[in-house]
């Protein structure tokens, strides 16, 4: 397996990554452990809800709720910097005037 070449469009699997075996420090192993602990806890919560025979409702995903909330409530964290003002002017204000001019002048 030493000369394993992955397919052109695939990334190398984690178990065949040489960095996994040769240059790993203790802190990396500890952080991987804490990540795995979090993941296992979430898996356990999901499986408990999934296999509960008395459950009648949908399993709601708080990560999904947070994602939707974050994407829709961007205004409270908005600041008018030069970059955001430029983007707003380019996409919101300029097309209005440009399209008005084009539709009014270019008549069939």
């Amino acid at each position: 397996m030493a000369d394993y070449q992955e397919a052109p469009l695939a990334t190398r699997p984690k178990t065949l990554d040489p960095n996994e075996y040769f240059s790993v420090s203790l802190e990396q192993r500890r952080s991987e452990q804490s990540r795995a602990a979090l993941r296992a806890n979430l898996k356990r919560q999901y499986q408990m809800q999934l296999n509960n025979p008395l459950r009648r409702e949908l399993i709601e995903d708080p990560a999904l709720t947070r994602w939707v909330y974050a994407r829709t409530h961007t205004y409270p964290h908005f600041n008018a910097t030069s970059k955001t003002s430029l983007l707003g002017a380019m996409f919101g204000v300029a097309p209005l005037f440009i399209l008005y001019y084009v539709f009014k002048t270019d008549r069939v």
Partner: protein, 188 residues
């Protein structure tokens, strides 16, 4: 029964110290639904806020990294690596196999772009610069050649069509009594 409840409500309204709409709306809310602490909030500044945000999003403190605070509206949402779902292990037992995602895992801001039907960030067989050079090189070359073809056209020699009978003098409505001028289409 309903009358008693209505009277109590009216009494509470008179006693309440709010004014206008706030007097009509109750000061407490139901305990069902998501709590405010589990929803995204403003950009975290202190390390304690960062730790609390990492816990909220089910990430470790080293992994959690908010978007830079440039006023673009992200708040404290984590800045996850820009990797599409194509790159995730197809053989692992995901909770949602079509999305290659586990329940409760933090969702990337552009998750709906990175699903398996859409943008794919997996490695390509040729480097990006090489692909760009090949494509734009070919298009540029073809455009240049078409431009040259417009500028310097090359075709079989042609001349104007030559008609007999003095350029069809009678057919074009010329006077039969008059003598037409001689039209010669040749030189000897």
């Amino acid at each position: 029964m309903a009358g008693v409840g209505f009277r109590r409500w009216a009494q509470a309204l008179c006693r309440g110290n709010g004014s206008g709409i706030s007097a009509l709306v109750s000061g407490c809310r139901a305990a069902s639904g998501v709590s405010k602490g589990s929803l995204p909030g403003p950009y975290p500044t202190t390390p304690e806020e960062k730790a609390a945000a990492a816990k909220k999003y089910n990430m470790t403190v080293e992994d959690y990294e908010p978007y830079p605070n440039k006023g673009e509206g992200y708040g404290d949402y984590p800045n996850l690596p820009e990797r599409s779902q194509h790159e995730r292990d197809p053989w692992y037992q995901w909770d949602h196999p079509d999305l290659r995602r586990n329940w409760g895992e933090p969702i990337h801001w552009d998750f709906d772009m990175y699903i398996r039907n859409r943008v794919d960030t997996s490695p390509s067989p040729v480097s990006w610069s090489s692909m760009c050079k090949q494509l734009f090189g070919f298009i540029g070359f073809m455009l240049f050649m078409f431009y040259l073809g417009e500028k310097f056209p090359s075709y079989q020699p042609v001349a104007a069509k030559q008609y007999p009978y003095n350029d069809l003098y009678l057919e074009k409505g010329g006077d039969p009594e008059k003598e037409p001028e001689e039209v010669k289409h040749y030189e000897i």
